[in-house]
Symmetry: C2
């Protein structure tokens, strides 16, 4: 397995494509990308035993964690602890690209 | 605890400052920032039971993982699995800012 991944290569291949991509995964941690088009939403959900972070790479999102609503742009990290409902909507006019980590990784 | 952190606020307060900052931490995962000045090195070390990733936010680094040497710029993710020696040097002329995750978090 290569130890390096360039997110722009993964996202940039087809800017219209909406996708999830896994960068790296071990039993302890999954590191991946989520890319949402304007208006697209990842419905709220929860992981009972997994912590998750979002880190905005591109675009503007509205991230919900529990009762909190965060307007998130590039450089913002948002934490969704285990058991907290969370979801994200692209509220911008360009794609929203998020680096995401889930620990431990989904089975 | 707030669920949001803006890395630019943390790094930008003093651009000359070299530091590590924790963004979020649970027993499962530590998410943080490392900032190195030009020429500065984080010596190679290893975590026997923790996986680690680097994600370059700013600057140019040389990241070593085991026998591999990666020249890493913004957008590149590098994975250092448990047991692999790893370290990083700022080989650029500006600060090197890395988002880092360690799973499980250091005790």
């Amino acid at each position: 397995m290569s130890i390096q991944r360039d997110y722009r290569t993964l996202v940039g291949a087809d800017p219209e494509r909406v996708f999830k991509a896994t960068l790296f995964q071990s039993p302890r941690l999954l590191l991946g990308l989520n890319c949402l088009q304007p208006g697209q939403r990842q419905e709220t959900h929860l992981h009972a035993h997994q912590d998750k972070f979002y880190f905005v790479l591109e675009g503007q999102g509205e991230i919900i964690v529990g009762e909190e609503v965060v307007r998130a742009g590039p450089g913002l990290a948002v934490w969704a602890p285990a058991g907290a409902e969370h979801g994200v909507t692209n509220i911008g006019v360009h794609r929203l690209v998020l680096l995401v980590g889930i620990s431990p990784a989904p089975a």
